[in-house]
Amino acid sequence: MKNTLKVQRAIHDMTQEDLANKVGVTRQTINAIEKQKYDPSLGLAFKLAKLFDVTIEELFVYEEE
Protein backbone atom coordinates (compact mmCIF):
# COMPACT_ATOMS: atom_id res chain seq x y z
CA MET A 1 0.00 0.00 0.00
CA LYS A 2 1.42 3.37 -1.04
CA ASN A 3 1.53 6.09 1.58
CA THR A 4 2.55 9.69 2.15
CA LEU A 5 3.83 9.12 5.65
CA LYS A 6 7.35 10.32 4.89
CA VAL A 7 5.99 13.50 3.29
CA GLN A 8 3.68 14.19 6.24
CA ARG A 9 6.53 13.54 8.63
CA ALA A 10 8.70 16.04 6.74
CA ILE A 11 5.89 18.63 6.72
CA HIS A 12 5.52 18.29 10.49
CA ASP A 13 9.31 18.16 10.98
CA MET A 14 9.25 14.86 12.82
CA THR A 15 11.75 12.04 12.95
CA GLN A 16 10.67 8.39 12.72
CA GLU A 17 11.48 8.13 16.42
CA ASP A 18 9.21 11.09 17.31
CA LEU A 19 6.35 9.68 15.27
CA ALA A 20 6.81 6.21 16.73
CA ASN A 21 6.66 7.61 20.26
CA LYS A 22 3.51 9.60 19.49
CA VAL A 23 1.56 6.63 18.13
CA GLY A 24 3.07 4.00 20.48
CA VAL A 25 4.95 1.76 18.08
CA THR A 26 8.63 1.07 17.46
CA ARG A 27 10.73 3.17 15.08
CA GLN A 28 11.23 0.05 12.96
CA THR A 29 7.48 -0.19 12.38
CA ILE A 30 7.32 3.40 11.09
CA ASN A 31 10.27 2.60 8.82
CA ALA A 32 8.57 -0.58 7.55
CA ILE A 33 5.34 1.36 6.79
CA GLU A 34 7.26 4.05 4.90
CA LYS A 35 9.08 1.42 2.86
CA GLN A 36 5.72 -0.28 2.14
CA LYS A 37 6.92 -3.49 3.74
CA TYR A 38 4.15 -3.46 6.33
CA ASP A 39 0.52 -2.39 6.13
CA PRO A 40 -0.62 -0.89 9.43
CA SER A 41 -3.78 -1.95 11.25
CA LEU A 42 -6.88 0.20 10.90
CA GLY A 43 -6.33 1.51 14.42
CA LEU A 44 -2.78 2.63 13.71
CA ALA A 45 -3.81 4.13 10.36
CA PHE A 46 -6.48 6.22 12.13
CA LYS A 47 -3.98 7.32 14.77
CA LEU A 48 -1.51 8.45 12.10
CA ALA A 49 -4.20 10.25 10.10
CA LYS A 50 -5.49 12.00 13.21
CA LEU A 51 -1.99 13.02 14.24
CA PHE A 52 -1.28 14.62 10.86
CA ASP A 53 -4.83 15.98 10.59
CA VAL A 54 -5.50 14.33 7.23
CA THR A 55 -7.90 11.64 6.07
CA ILE A 56 -6.82 8.02 5.81
CA GLU A 57 -7.24 8.24 2.02
CA GLU A 58 -4.77 11.11 1.92
CA LEU A 59 -2.27 9.11 3.94
CA PHE A 60 -2.72 5.65 2.43
CA VAL A 61 -3.50 4.72 -1.16
CA TYR A 62 -4.87 1.25 -1.74
CA GLU A 63 -3.53 -0.53 -4.84
CA GLU A 64 -5.19 -3.53 -6.47
CA GLU A 65 -2.73 -6.44 -6.74
Binding site: G24, V25, T26, Q28, T29, Y38, S41
Partner: protein, 130 residues
Protein backbone atom coordinates in the same frame (compact mmCIF):
# COMPACT_ATOMS: atom_id res chain seq x y z
CA UNK B 1 17.87 11.21 29.38
CA UNK B 2 17.26 10.72 25.65
CA UNK B 3 15.43 7.76 24.24
CA UNK B 4 18.60 6.41 22.62
CA UNK B 5 20.44 6.36 25.94
CA UNK B 6 17.38 4.82 27.60
CA UNK B 7 17.43 2.03 24.99
CA UNK B 8 21.15 1.53 25.57
CA UNK B 9 20.66 1.31 29.34
CA UNK B 10 17.70 -1.04 28.92
CA UNK B 11 19.80 -3.33 26.72
CA UNK B 12 22.57 -3.35 29.35
CA UNK B 13 20.04 -4.36 32.02
CA UNK B 14 18.56 -6.98 29.70
CA UNK B 15 21.99 -8.56 29.16
CA UNK B 16 22.67 -8.29 32.90
CA UNK B 17 19.42 -10.13 33.68
CA UNK B 18 20.39 -12.90 31.24
CA UNK B 19 23.87 -13.19 32.77
CA UNK B 20 22.38 -13.42 36.29
CA UNK B 21 19.85 -16.07 35.21
CA UNK B 22 22.34 -18.19 33.26
CA UNK B 23 24.95 -17.93 36.03
CA UNK B 24 22.35 -18.94 38.61
CA UNK B 25 21.29 -21.95 36.56
CA UNK B 26 24.92 -22.94 35.90
CA UNK B 27 25.85 -22.74 39.58
CA UNK B 28 22.66 -24.62 40.41
CA UNK B 29 23.58 -27.41 38.01
CA UNK B 30 27.21 -27.56 39.20
CA UNK B 31 26.23 -27.56 42.90
CA UNK B 32 23.26 -29.80 42.19
CA UNK B 33 20.97 -27.28 43.90
CA UNK B 34 17.55 -26.49 42.51
CA UNK B 35 17.13 -23.48 44.82
CA UNK B 36 20.21 -21.65 43.48
CA UNK B 37 18.90 -22.09 39.94
CA UNK B 38 15.50 -20.71 40.87
CA UNK B 39 17.04 -17.78 42.76
CA UNK B 40 19.21 -16.96 39.73
CA UNK B 41 16.25 -16.99 37.34
CA UNK B 42 14.12 -15.01 39.82
CA UNK B 43 16.82 -12.37 40.32
CA UNK B 44 17.26 -12.07 36.54
CA UNK B 45 13.52 -11.57 36.10
CA UNK B 46 13.43 -8.93 38.84
CA UNK B 47 16.23 -6.97 37.09
CA UNK B 48 14.46 -7.25 33.71
CA UNK B 49 11.03 -6.21 35.01
CA UNK B 50 12.55 -3.31 36.99
CA UNK B 51 14.36 -2.08 33.85
CA UNK B 52 11.12 -2.34 31.83
CA UNK B 53 9.26 -0.29 34.45
CA UNK B 54 12.04 2.28 34.76
CA UNK B 55 12.60 3.00 31.07
CA UNK B 56 9.01 2.56 29.79
CA UNK B 57 10.13 1.74 26.25
CA UNK B 58 7.85 0.47 23.50
CA UNK B 59 9.16 -3.08 23.33
CA UNK B 60 6.50 -4.60 21.15
CA UNK B 61 3.83 -3.38 18.76
CA UNK B 62 1.31 -4.69 16.23
CA UNK B 63 4.00 -5.44 13.60
CA UNK B 64 6.11 -7.49 16.01
CA UNK B 65 3.00 -9.28 17.27
CA UNK B 66 2.08 -10.17 13.69
CA UNK B 67 5.62 -11.44 13.03
CA UNK B 68 5.49 -13.58 16.19
CA UNK B 69 2.05 -14.89 15.27
CA UNK B 70 3.11 -15.87 11.75
CA UNK B 71 6.34 -17.50 12.94
CA UNK B 72 4.44 -19.40 15.65
CA UNK B 73 1.71 -20.57 13.29
CA UNK B 74 4.16 -21.84 10.67
CA UNK B 75 6.29 -23.57 13.35
CA UNK B 76 3.15 -25.30 14.58
CA UNK B 77 2.19 -26.44 11.06
CA UNK B 78 5.74 -27.66 10.30
CA UNK B 79 5.87 -29.75 13.48
CA UNK B 80 2.36 -31.05 13.01
CA UNK B 81 3.36 -32.29 9.55
CA UNK B 82 6.63 -33.68 10.91
CA UNK B 83 4.77 -35.63 13.63
CA UNK B 84 2.30 -36.93 11.05
CA UNK B 85 5.20 -38.07 8.87
CA UNK B 86 6.97 -39.73 11.81
CA UNK B 87 3.79 -41.57 12.81
CA UNK B 88 3.42 -42.76 9.21
CA UNK B 89 6.99 -44.02 8.83
CA UNK B 90 6.91 -45.59 12.30
CA UNK B 91 4.97 -48.44 10.70
CA UNK B 92 7.91 -49.25 8.41
CA UNK B 93 9.94 -52.02 10.17
CA UNK B 94 13.39 -50.37 9.83
CA UNK B 95 12.18 -47.00 11.16
CA UNK B 96 10.10 -48.50 13.94
CA UNK B 97 13.27 -50.17 15.32
CA UNK B 98 15.18 -46.89 15.14
CA UNK B 99 12.34 -44.97 16.81
CA UNK B 100 12.02 -47.60 19.55
CA UNK B 101 15.72 -47.30 20.36
CA UNK B 102 15.57 -43.53 20.92
CA UNK B 103 15.31 -42.36 24.52
CA UNK B 104 12.03 -40.48 25.07
CA UNK B 105 13.56 -37.75 27.26
CA UNK B 106 16.31 -36.94 24.76
CA UNK B 107 13.73 -37.02 21.94
CA UNK B 108 11.59 -34.44 23.76
CA UNK B 109 14.60 -32.13 24.33
CA UNK B 110 15.68 -32.46 20.67
CA UNK B 111 12.12 -31.64 19.52
CA UNK B 112 12.04 -28.66 21.89
CA UNK B 113 15.30 -27.24 20.53
CA UNK B 114 14.30 -27.91 16.93
CA UNK B 115 11.02 -26.05 17.51
CA UNK B 116 12.88 -23.17 19.13
CA UNK B 117 15.35 -22.86 16.24
CA UNK B 118 12.54 -23.21 13.69
CA UNK B 119 10.60 -20.41 15.41
CA UNK B 120 13.68 -18.16 15.66
CA UNK B 121 14.54 -18.75 11.99
CA UNK B 122 10.99 -17.96 10.88
CA UNK B 123 10.88 -14.92 13.18
CA UNK B 124 14.06 -13.56 11.55
CA UNK B 125 12.66 -14.34 8.09
CA UNK B 126 9.35 -12.54 8.66
CA UNK B 127 11.11 -9.63 10.35
CA UNK B 128 13.27 -9.12 7.28
CA UNK B 129 10.15 -9.28 5.06
CA UNK B 130 7.99 -6.92 7.10
Amino acid sequence: MTKASDEKMYNIFRILSMVISVTGVLIGVLKNSLIIGFIGVGAGLVVLISAQKKYQLVLTDERLRQIKQRAGNLTFVIFLLAFALISLISNVPLFSEILASINAASMVSVIFFMMMYCYLGLYAYYKSKM
